[in-house]
Amino acid sequence: MIELRNVTKKFGTFAAVDNLSLSIPTGEFFGFLGPNGAGKTTTIKMIVGLFTPTSGTVTVNGFDTVRQPIEAKQTLSYVPDQPFLYDKLTGREFLYFVGGLYSIDKSTLQSRIPPLLEHFEIGAWIDRRTEEYSQGMRQRITIAAALLHKSKTIIIDEPMVGLDPRSAKIVRETLHVEASRGTDILMSTHSLAIAEELCDRIGIIHNGKLVFCDSREKLQADKNRLDGTFESLFLDVTNT
């Protein structure tokens, strides 16, 4: 469960996120949309603890991310928009490294890693250094690492950027499975189709403010008010 209360993030005088309030209940798949520079990544970075809010509070599964960062981080998984990995480590070493950070013991890791490798079709690449990986393979390893500790919440930033259709399909299926298991997911994306396909609720952020937030069913009604496409609705609500 994620809860943002009156969250503002300023860089100098510029407010990247402006008094944002949002609640994502347990088990919900939330799609976070918005034009470039709207404040999606900034919001996500505040949730995962990479940024500190200028004002307001962020809680993840009941833990304040500023006052109880370790407890909050223990319950969530983060997949960044750019899957930067330690170049000189192999994929397998990276998975063990991340597993260790979440205090997972060796025997658990040994049982959890092989199914993930199979699911993400990583194959022989697992023992090669990540500096050799393509964008898609990096993304697969990053998502596999995020699933290692079976967190309650997954935060995923632009998961489809630069992926080939095969990788995109694997990622989509994985998120679908995780959502059906009751994991709450916050996914930022530019792909309206994917948001419509996967998410229970969709929020649109523009200039740091939440300008639209509704369930998939209500979204349909809103679309029908215009020409029936999500694209028109998106352009309508983000047209200032």
């Binding site: 370790i70 991340v98 023992d127």
Partner: protein, 569 residues
């Protein structure tokens, strides 16, 4: 040529933007850096002036001998510029993404080489340029040179001298890369280390400072008469000799001889630059392709599914978090050639230093000489430790890079992570520090069997030096970290690194000032067989501990605060 100027213009514009960055953090940093630089430059100026006056008027070693020592310092300076340029230019010329980008443009490879060569020269030599200019002003003030003469000497003598070292570095690097394509990079690096080591041994065999003092002392106090006795050595063909000769001729107002040395230096520099361009025209693009090949060969070395030493799959007595972080750092360090090669080079230098210390002949029955030798050796050891901490501890945070998100977003307590980094680096620095201080005491104890207090001083001082310098370097490394530099050598030669090094030297200077008097008293008591009041070291000993703790805590605090900032990458 037009393209060359076009690129230079845009690089200049980009650098101006960073110089005139008006963000408050940048302004504070820039002003701080400027003030610190000014302070340091002032310190170099005053020290050079005082040392020159002391050596020429108090000890009266004479102008000739003074300039022979200057020649040796200039040789070390040449090697420092040369080595610095070789190491940094490998990254600038071969690993820079800018080069890879510009290689796709219709630009002759030699033009690209020229851009990166100058880029590299000014990047790796800026601090040395400042320091040498301050030293020159200090030296010039002793001989009543007007300031503009010092500026002219800087531009027409010292800068060409440094440029010569940089040209030689570029030629050596092009040669290395060409040969590396045939026999492999590791072998060529080993060979280069051996050649450099051999060259250093050869130079100091030809111009041994101890031998020089012994021979010249026979004529004391008229040491300039030694001049007439001196045979002409092979070192007259080295550029440091021409520069030293230039200075010597200027002090004697023999302007014709000075002009001869200057002309020789400029001619050789111009010739070597032309040779560098010719070599670059022939080899740069070819060697750039070789560097790509080497990098891809290294990448395709499969690390394999087999379980190796320190493998992540192996059980460990450490907690999973600590184990993960330690193993990650271990693999990243030993899989990056610039890390382990540099460590090997520094360990070789430290080993040579330790060996020469243990075999040092200190049979000098002059009380002040033994004390000064001890002080100089201690200062030099401190300098080595500062360099070691700068090279290996300063870049630790920066090298986490953009991948740092994986640690920052994980349930890792930053204080613990920072402490772990500190311990890993500190163990290396402390071990080497204690070894050096132990070795340093051996020759003194040989001639002063009653001087067991020196051993305790070595252990005590070594501990505090290692602690303070490790914390300062790690902390300042975190403070200046932007998580974008992948090359540890470039990270350790950035502006932040320079400021950190100067801070370490300032700390060392205060440290030395505190221990100066008690050490001097101790040596006096050893020479005159008088009793040394051990209580008199309590106050300076405590002062040293307090100073080191303050420096360490400052570095720690600054670093940890910076780590908690937003991770913008």
């Amino acid at each position: 040529m037009y393209l060359l100027f076009h690129i230079f213009l845009y690089k200049f514009k980009a650098s101006l933007k960073s110089v005139f960055d008006v963000r408050s953090v940048s302004v504070v940093r820039s002003v701080g850096s400027f003030l610190f630089y000014c302070g340091f430059v002032w310190g170099v100026y005053v020290s050079t002036r005082n040392i020159t006056i002391y050596v020429l008027h108090q000890t009266q070693i004479g102008l000739y001998l003074y300039h022979r020592f200057l020649e040796m310092i200039l040789f070390i300076f040449f090697i420092a510029v040369n080595l610095g340029n070789i190491i940094v230019s490998y990254s600038t010329l071969y690993k820079s993404p800018e080069v890879a980008y510009l290689m796709t443009k219709p630009l002759p490879s030699v033009s690209l080489f020229v851009i990166k060569f100058f880029d590299n020269f000014f990047y790796s030599s800026t601090t040395l340029l400042f320091i040498s200019f301050a030293a020159l002003l200090g030296y010039g003030s002793c001989f009543e040179y007007p300031w503009y003469l010092s500026v002219a000497i800087m531009v027409f003598v010292l800068m060409p001298y440094m440029f010569l070292a940089a040209c030689l570095a570029a030629i050596i690097l092009l040669g290395i890369m060409r040969v590396a394509g045939t026999i492999g990079f590791r072998k060529i690096m080993g060979l280069l280390c051996l050649i450099y080591f051999g060259f250093l041994v050869l130079f100091f065999s030809f111009s041994n400072p101890v031998l020089l003092i012994e021979q010249a002392s026979r004529f004391y106090p008229n040491v300039d008469r030694y001049f007439a006795q001196l045979p002409i050595g092979a070192y007259q063909y080295l550029p440091n000799h021409w520069v030293a000769e230039f200075f010597f001729s200027m002090t004697r107002k023999d302007y014709t001889a000075a002009l001869c040395s200057e002309t020789l230096l400029l001619a050789v520099t111009a010739a070597l630059f032309a040779l560098t361009l010719m070599a670059a025209k022939r080899l740069y693009f070819k060697t750039w392709l070789i560097s790509l090949q080497i990098q891809s060969n290294r990448m395709s070395e499969k690390d394999g599914g087999r379980i190796r030493l320190f493998d992540f799959r192996k059980e460990s007595f450490l907690s999973p978090k600590i184990e993960s972080l330690v193993k990650k750092d271990f693999f990243l360090f030993f899989r990056e050639p610039s890390q382990w090669i540099h460590l090997l080079v520094l360990l070789t230098i430290a080993g040579t230093f330790i060996l020469s210390l243990t075999n040092m002949n200190l049979n000098i029955r002059i009380e002040s000489m033994q004390f000064f030798t001890y002080l100089i050796l201690f200062a030099f050891s401190g300098f080595m430790i500062a360099s070691l901490a700068l090279r290996f501890m300063y870049p630790m945070c920066e090298l986490e890079g953009k991948q740092f998100w994986s640690i920052r977003s994980a349930p890792v307590i930053l204080e613990q992570w920072f402490a772990l980094k500190f311990i890993l680096g500190f163990l290396l620095v402390l071990t080497l520090t204690e070894l050096i201080t132990w070795a340093m005491n051996i020759p003194f104890l040989r001639y002063n069997p009653r001087g067991e207090l020196l051993s305790w001083f070595g252990i005590y001082a070594g501990f505090w030096l290692a602690t303070a310098m490790s914390a300062l370097n790690l902390g300042f490394g975190a403070f200046f970290a932007e998580y974008t530099e992948k090359n540890p050598i470039r990270a350790a030669s950035s502006q932040g690194a320079t400021l950190t090094f100067l801070s370490s030297l300032l700390y060392l200077f205060v440290f030395l000032a505190i221990v100066l008097l008690p050490l001097s008293n101790y040596f006096q008591s050893l020479f005159h067989f008088t009793k040394f009041a051990r209580e008199s070291i309590i106050v300076p000993g405590t002062a040293v501990a307090v100073l080191s703790m303050l420096a360490g805590v400052w570095g720690w605090h600054v670093g940890l605060r910076s780590l908690k900032r937003d991770f913008l990458n």
